[in-house]
Amino acid sequence: MISQTAIHHLVEKLGAKNVLFEKEDLLVYGYDSTPGVHHLPEVVVFPSSNDEVCAALEIAHREGLPIVPRGSGTGLSGGSVPAEGGMVVCLSRMNRILEIDEENLTATAQAGVVTLDLFNAVAAKGLFYPPDPGSQKISTIGGNVAEDAGGLRGLKYGVTRDYVMALSGVLADGSFIRTGGKSVKDVAGYSLRDLLVGSEGTLAIITEVTVKLIPPPKDKRTFLAYFSDIRTAGAAVSKIIAAKIIPSTMEIMDRTTINCIEDYVNIGLPREMAAMLLIEVDGHPAMVAEEAAGVQAILEEVRAAEVHIARDAEHANQLAAARRTALSALARVSPTTLLEDATVPRSCLAETFDEIERLRVKYRLNVGTFGHAGDGNLHPTVLCDERNHDEMARAHAFYNELYEKVLQLGGTVSGEHGIGLAKKEYLRRQIGPGGVAVMRRIKQAFDPQGILNPGKIFTDDEQCADVRIEEGFRVSR
């Protein structure tokens, strides 16, 4: 337990309203958006400057408390769940955009700035920050960097990592670190910046982010294509890529997902169709026209059941917004939505859909699949009830077998959600014990005492402890 003295010191340094320790507060900082994992911290702090982060870390150090950074708690692998208790450092009050540099095309923001707020602020100056995770209205830029978040535009524009130019943060020992800069080229030593991106809060607490901005596309066209079987949709995706067309967005939704979204948004999505692709091409108007014609020709060639073009920008935005609600909308069907993040080389999409279907039947599960088809990044989501132990066991068997296939195909166990608590064992299968050992040595170099977000990505002891996803809000380990 944290001592009263430590609480007193924290209050002194950060102010009473920035230090929470009542049980009701601890309860609601013990989760993120990952199903089934929950653990109470001992204290939650809200620093509003680098100095306050350092001060909080120093006190945590003295108390021997694990430290878990948190943004808005929208992560999907348990990254911000304080799995071993300790201090949650919530960066939501460090939410200022510090600079939009129109000469160098960069923006610098504190970690707690909401992704969409950053997007809107740079858009107002005629600039474009492309990464757009499904939770962009809620998630913070710091959280995006820590998890290397992807999004709908990943296919053409890449993911968060591709835009991070510089990072500032605080290391486990309370020292300040700054890595990268506004220079387009930078090969000065190891790229610590790239190590920190996607480190899930295990190497440092990121407090400030400088991102690269680009000019926005001048034109875009949005297609909706309906399919009477999902395999054809997969084939369409592979053919479009093979035709050397890179749409900005190529999203897939299966029938279950279409129906859940339609229940929520009611915009006339095709309930009876097996699958739907949302495709967007953007860029210079001449190129958009050419690529749109190419996409249309391929959709006709593979015999998509119907092809529609968005009426206007507003309609296109409405469709993208609807797609962003997919995961949450699936939660309408059942109390528990177990979502995975399997990613395969794009040429293997159709095969992966077949495998998902085969396993769905084998394990008698209700599965909704959606995802970034153009990236080969699928989110097969098992709709289940955590109170039904038999069903949960089948769900885990389903993923176990699916990941075997994904790895066989040369894919990855996580495209964009991270390893966190949920996928440690799968990571080991993917990169082998040697890979885990190197990662552990890197972790040791940054955080010798292992106090930053312990229990994530891999466990501290040699063997990977078995993470049990228990029912409800209970301790995950």
């Binding site: 507060d25 309860l27 958006s33 809620i138 909308a329 309408r332 528990t336």
Partner: protein, 433 residues
Amino acid sequence: MSHDEPMGNFVTRDAPAYEGILQCMRCGFCLPTCPTYALTGRERSSPRGRVALARAVAENRLEFTPAVKEEAFFCLDCRACTTACPSGVHAGEIMEACRSQVHEVFPTTGLAGGLRRFILGKMVPSPELLETSMIPARLYQKLGIQWLMRHSGLLKLAPRWMEKAEGMLPPLQAPLRTQLPEIVPARGEKRGRVAFFLGCVMTLLYAEVSRQTVRVLAHQGFEVITPKQQKCCGAPHMNEGDPETARSLARHNLDLFLDLDVDAIVTDCAGCGAVLKDYEEMLEGRADHARLALFREKVRDISEFLVEVGLRTEDLRSLDLSVTYHEPCHLCHAQGISTQPRKILKAIPGVELREMKESSWCCGSAATFGLKFTEESQQILDRKLANVAATGADALVTANPGCHLQLAWGLRQAGMEQPVLHLMEVLGKALPE
């Protein structure tokens, strides 16, 4: 609402249903839409946090503690999170159900408890008692005591909520219920027959607004029946955690209105409309389902009704008025009525609608929230007033008495000149004599 034994540390049958709580998968889509979370930045005052607290209580991981009680009442019940929730979680209703636990777990005794029981259990359910209770307030205004109080600074000595409540009182008239004929004939070509549900706040504080609503309905070709025996819709009781009295009021109104041979049951109060549409759920298993469904089928907000039947605009006068529209939470979030009021405004000749930013963000009134949490309510109101001011519109239009009171008070305090008008007052001005 659950009919089974309450789960975990909940105590009464009106506890939140566990299935509804489990529906939340904690995606956080609600966070940016919650006015109280925007104020505190504290997860427990967000819809996701509140539902998690309810879940912890249901799972015996948390007692029904004073902090849970506080959050249940700190929730504005504005339902913005319901609109934003892709999973279909009703955090506002879950908090209403938590409020019903409060009086079991922390019973109020003595004068305060007695007063609460008298107001909710006796006074509000009786139109006559309610009307009588307003006589002192009317005298207070008529005899010039109000002028004296406001100018003497005496009110500054009272608690803040009392000063605010006094300041919110609009100029009072005699209650409309006793004056309105039970049948008002249709004008022009008759299109149908409707019942008018006259809300308590409307009849007592905004008699002139509802008078216009009836006038509009008649002008639109509807015969209007306003049954004198109607009682409070039950919204204050649901809000204060007294579902039992709410249900008995609902049963009374259900029987009264279903006995009338009408095409629709129309109200001009967003709060009443939302609860009337909820009777089906409130009385599920306690009244005949077919009757509940029939009642639900007939309830309409006035703007919803007018757009559905098609607004007759041939003989409307031109107004030369720019307006901005504040969406009452219980209209846009609780009933999903957002386009209809705008369609009506745009159909009135000479009216220019200037959209404000965040038109569907709560004004901070929220039943008694504005009096219980005066400071927080003021911060929410300030945000709204800034958005109103930015439009430069001549008038602020809304469609709910709670918002009306709060906004009129706020504009006056801020020295802003725009009047607050109910949508039906605007339409009423455009009607031929």
